[in-house]
């Protein structure tokens, strides 16, 4: 981001100096400051931190293993011993939900990283070179994007195999067109800047201009899109498992837990409640954080 000093920044700087701490204010630190003042964004961040903690420390946080079968205690409602109850094999639902975070979140993260890499590269190249390159890439993206993302993901996973790697590839392929368009649009807003012109005049290479000048300056809308995509991917991972083409049981995954729980909906509804709650909390976390980032990075709207 450009390092202009706005009156607001001077004000913030003055306040920080008064507190005895001298810290230079940059647009990114200012955005962070605004984000931290936004209560809902902080709530989203807290939700996500909690879920990632659960994912990382699942073995320490749970009393039972996620695949510990204990038939005498099958289909018990929530109690102190089993806060989320037990499933049809007497497995502790709390453990299964906690371990589920270890499946869903990494897959969603990897899919997003993959989608950014492929889609981002296509979008940057398209916007930077323009003309015929732009036309060809965007036409391909248009065709690619005319298959709804979740259907493309389902087709890829169903045909190429039910494992994590294929799932990541399938989900990211569904998201590439959107990412390419976002990157292209974001780069377009800065491509006519004088600093791009001057670095071209100084003989900077295309790669240097793209990744040193264009990408860092266009990062705002891209970050917002990425956080939004994370929420969408969490939904997609669980939707795929729910229809039976994602992670197969016995690996706990929130969507497949719901799919199993569905058979007990009429008698043991709690089996359907908690896994869905986890999906919702994760997506809610990403959405709240995304909304907060939108306000923080684009102060005009607040």
């Amino acid at each position: 981001m450009a390092k202009n000093v706005t009156p607001e920044m001077t004000r913030i700087n003055a306040r920080r100096t008064k507190n005895g701490k001298v810290r230079r204010s940059t647009p990114s630190s200012e955005a962070w400051f605004r984000l931290m003042r936004n209560k809902t964004a902080v709530l989203g961040l807290v939700l996500l931190l909690a879920l990632f903690t659960v994912a990382i420390f699942a073995p320490q946080l749970t009393k039972y293993g996620y695949d510990e079968v204990h038939m005498p205690e099958k289909l018990q409602g929530p109690s102190l011993e089993h806060p989320f109850g037990t499933d049809q094999l007497g497995r502790d639902m709390l453990s299964r939900c906690f371990y589920g975070a270890r499946t869903t979140l990494p897959i969603a993260l990897c899919a997003v990283v993959f989608a950014i890499t492929v889609g981002g590269l296509l979008g940057i190249i398209s916007a930077y070179f323009g003309g015929a390159t732009d036309n060809i890439i965007m036409r391909i993206i248009d065709i690619w994007g005319s298959i709804p993302g979740i259907m493309l993901a389902i087709a890829i996973v169903a045909c190429l195999g039910n494992n994590e790697i294929v799932l990541v590839i399938g989900l990211s392929m569904g998201a590439v067109p959107n990412m390419a368009r976002t990157f292209r649009g974001a780069i377009f807003t800065v491509i006519d800047s004088d600093y791009v012109e001057s670095s071209k005049a100084m003989g900077a290479s295309n790669l240097r201009i793209m990744f040193k000048h264009l990408v860092p300056n266009a990062v705002g809308p891209v970050i917002i899109a990425i956080v939004g995509l994370l929420g969408i991917e969490v939904l997609c991972v669980s939707a795929l498992s729910f229809v039976g083409v994602g992670i197969a049981p016995p690996t706990p995954e929130w969507g497949s837990l719901l799919s199993t729980g569905r058979q007990y909906l009429t008698t043991h509804a709690y089996l359907c409640f908690f896994p869905g709650l986890f999906i919702m909390l994760a997506v809610l976390g990403f959405n709240l954080l995304g909304d907060g980032l939108r306000d923080a990075l684009d102060p005009r709207l607040k």
């Binding site: 036409r139 391909i140 248009d142 065709i143 690619w144 005319s146 298959i147 709804p148 993302g149 979740i150 259907m151 493309l152 389902i154 087709a155 890829i156 169903a158 045909c159 190429l160 195999g161 368009r181 649009g185 377009f188 929420g231 939904l235 669980s238 939707a239 729910f242 229809v243 039976g244 083409v245 969507g255 719901l258 729980g261 569905r262 909906l265 009429t266 509804a269 359907c272 409640f273 869905g276 999906i279 919702m280 997506v283 809610l284 959405n287 709240l288 909304d291 005009r300 709207l301």
Partner: protein
């Protein structure tokens, strides 16, 4: 205008060929033999060859691809289902009304409730009502629709017994699927309407309208809403498009025989023509919806319209305007 629409209609042809190619590539890369899964394990090589011949799998990939493309364009022939040996076209077209009905009904209801709520929320920014609307819309946007479906089944079908838990033979069976899909689309529409309204409310022409003494009601309807609806139209259009493919989990929960549910079943039985046909029809519907949205866009935005019909229409400027609005040029 006619030229623009014609151009966009012709664009359907490469889209269809492209979609066929993508899905074909996926099925070709698939490990395993569909013939083997149709026959039992100890089938002889001859039997497998016979099935291959009947399904046309003994021909080279390029020839199969070419024949399929020609078939789609000349007779809208989507191939023969492996399992039922019926034309896929008939199977898919029988499912289409269900998916369309769900998508159109939920989007229409979402617009009906979502836009007024979004506008109201923006006008009352920072009040309790705004906070509550915002809270529920972000909550429902984050809720997986299959989970919401199950919660509703648990409440309205199991606990209260008011509605059937699945099946759409009766009208009451439609209530829950449509409600779930509507809640999702409504939440999205509220969010986009609110943020678009907030942006427009700060515009100079609103201040001008106030300064010249325009009534508040007219300012909201004529000045704010007309301008704020442009991004909402895009979002409604893409929402309708996504509903065509994204409601498959709702279809699965309520046993609603739509295309999404059909595709999931076809995948389960390794029935590639069925899957390909379902995805192709969805992609065509998706593209047509986007095309209609883009045309509607040109009609509701006078700036774009004058670019097209005006004498001084500069193609470059027009394309730039379209791009700014996220419309495919």
């Amino acid at each position: 205008m006619t030229r623009y629409i014609l151009k966009r209609l012709l664009w359907l042809i490469p889209v269809i060929i492209g979609v066929i190619t993508i899905v074909f590539a996926i099925t070709v890369l698939t490990p395993g033999d569909p013939a083997a899964s149709l026959l039992d394990k100890n089938a002889t090589q001859e039997q497998i060859d016979e099935v291959h011949h009947r399904l046309g799998l003994d021909k080279p990939v390029i020839e199969r691809w070419f024949n399929y493309v020609i078939g789609v364009f000349t007779r809208f022939d989507l191939g023969t289902s492996y399992t039922t040996l019926q034309p896929v076209r008939n199977e898919v077209l029988a499912k289409l009304p269900y998916t369309l009905a769900l998508a159109v009904a939920s989007t229409a209801l979402g617009v009906l409730f979502g836009i007024p709520l979004g506008v109201w929320s923006a006008l009352k920014q920072y009040t309790f009502a705004d906070g509550a609307i915002l809270f529920f819309s972000v909550l429902f946007v984050s809720m997986p629709n299959f989970w919401l479906s199950m919660l509703m089944v648990s409440l309205f079908a199991v606990q209260l017994g008011w509605l059937p838990s699945f099946g759409v033979q009766t009208l009451s069976g439609w209530v829950m699927p449509v409600a779930v899909a509507t809640i999702g689309s409504m939440a999205g529409i509220i969010r986009i309407t609110r943020s678009s309204m907030l942006e427009v409310m700060r515009a100079d022409y609103i201040r001008t309208a106030r300064a010249k003494g325009q009534t508040e009601g007219k300012i909201v309807i004529h000045h704010m809403m007309r301008n704020a609806m442009i991004p909402v139209a895009t979002s409604v259009g893409s929402g309708l498009g996504n509903a065509l493919g994204g409601n498959m989990t709702i279809e699965a929960v309520f046993s609603l025989p739509g295309i999404g549910y059909y595709i999931v079943n076809m995948i389960g039985s390794r029935n590639y023509p069925g899957m390909l046909g379902g995805i192709l029809v969805t992609a065509i519907m998706f593209t047509i919806v986007n095309l209609l949205v883009d045309i509607a866009y040109v009609i509701i935005d006078p700036r774009l319209k004058s670019q097209i019909t005006g004498k001084k229409a500069s193609k470059r400027q027009f394309n730039k305007l379209l791009r700014e609005r996220g419309v495919t040029d």
